[in-house]
Subunit: 158 residues, 4 copies
């Protein structure tokens, strides 16, 4: 394609402390600690997470369960979105859709998410999951997620 | 609506030992054991799973992470599909899509899945997740999943 | 399943003139007129649409194109949602996902949508499409759609 | 992100006549002609389509209906996938999911699709839709689609 437009603008974070905010919230997601997920890299509208293979999270063929891969992709999408939100906003997953491209077999897994639309109420983000073995990296899953900015925290309880 | 057609036919399992087959495979999904998921009920093309609240699986507000709810909904869809497959088939999640309808707050969670289309290669199933507290049950998530019947086991590795 | 909870509550429309409102908006969707879509039935949170086969809307095998079936399912979901919204709200499709269960071959097509979650900002609805031939009705597609209630009409332009 | 892996390999078409095959099938999709869709560009695993604004395809606010945008995105995904398939294969949409990022307002629309996973049976493709006005181009929609390679043509009728 000769003429592909740039889909991603350079995002400006609305909260200058977006790094601390994302890291604080990430630390409070107990499931991230349980899965051993770490933040590799973080910039406005983008995040990279990583976690190791652990047979506790496997399905019947010994691969990481599609839902566990989706758990990390969903957190990645949520935090890519959250990095662009104003100071007192909370983040809520409305929906996500995952495609599984290859078995999640590997020593560790790298998840990269980036925002593709950052609106006042609705953010759309994508994530890709890669399985890493000693010598290669394989694209194993793809997610599109719709995230809501919640300015009134009580709404989260509703 | 006066005239809603029945979407669900009475499914006939192609393998008379479908119950043992589903239970064996379910037991081999280590993540189901880790999350404490149990099979409440199983019939051809339908399954009900249940698991308890555990703060290890929570997101930043103390609710069960959307990805963990999706993990159990995906297994439910996979086993509803698997219950209708022929003897030597393996089951593979191609993709799923979840909508989150309310926070996953409760003492335990009930997931019900049923097949809506059972084809030779492609099965489509839905799942609904309900959060149970002492006195009430709330619909918290909905999934549609596309599942592939794999007759050649080597394909799973590809 | 012995004990499936009722997912659908009896919805109360927030606007007593919801029928006129839905029909007015439907008439302004020029694509509905172009496709020959008619409203068969309408109640709070539910709608049934119908349209005839026309080879202008076909794909390469002579079946109605999956996108055209999705166009009518999306309008059905939007109007099922709109029927429950307050007087001055506008309706916006955030996203939808369709599964295609069988070829859309038939003389006419019936689309039924119902709301599964009606929130202040976000509504989730499902739709099913059925192909009707002289003697039978076949389930050909299923959609889940996420719809936003827009109270500030300017937002639609953004 | 320092180290984003290339997701897209250089695809090798399995049928050297893939261009003619795609164009022949595209011409037989009557809905493409009806909407005025043209092929701008085609290479293995990638396609660019274009169509003009026409008020016949509008929803209630005068924008192109989300389902019509999805119709063209679905054809784009299908033909990006078809360009990589072997000679006697047919292409079938199993499911797709669209996110709507901005109103489809513009003079014409450009749709770009590329394959992200090309397997023996299952192909996954993405599409992006852009609205063009005199001076600018806006990203209005994003699709992920799952496409099946059908080698036995009779299966399409089932």
């Amino acid at each position: 394609m000769k003429n592909v437009p740039k889909k991603m603008t350079n995002f400006q974070p609305r909260d200058p402390n977006f790094r601390e905010k994302v890291k604080d919230s990430f630390t409070r997601q107990k499931v991230m600690g349980e899965l051993g997920v770490e933040i590799n890299d973080l910039s406005p509208g983008e995040i990279e997470l990583q976690f190791p293979y652990d047979e506790r999270w496997t399905q019947q063929h010994g691969f990481i369960h599609a839902g566990i891969i989706s758990t990390v992709m969903d957190s990645a999408c949520g935090y890519a979105a959250f990095s662009l939100m104003p100071k007192y906003a909370a983040v809520l997953s409305i929906e996500f859709k995952s495609n599984f491209l290859a078995p999640a077999a590997g020593e560790k897994f790298r998840i990269i998410s980036r925002v593709i639309r950052s609106g006042r109420t609705i953010t759309v983000a994508e994530a890709d999951a890669f399985a890493l073995s000693s010598d290669k990296e394989k694209h194993v899953a793809h997610m599109t997620a719709t995230i809501m900015t919640v300015l009134d925290n009580n709404s989260i309880q509703q």
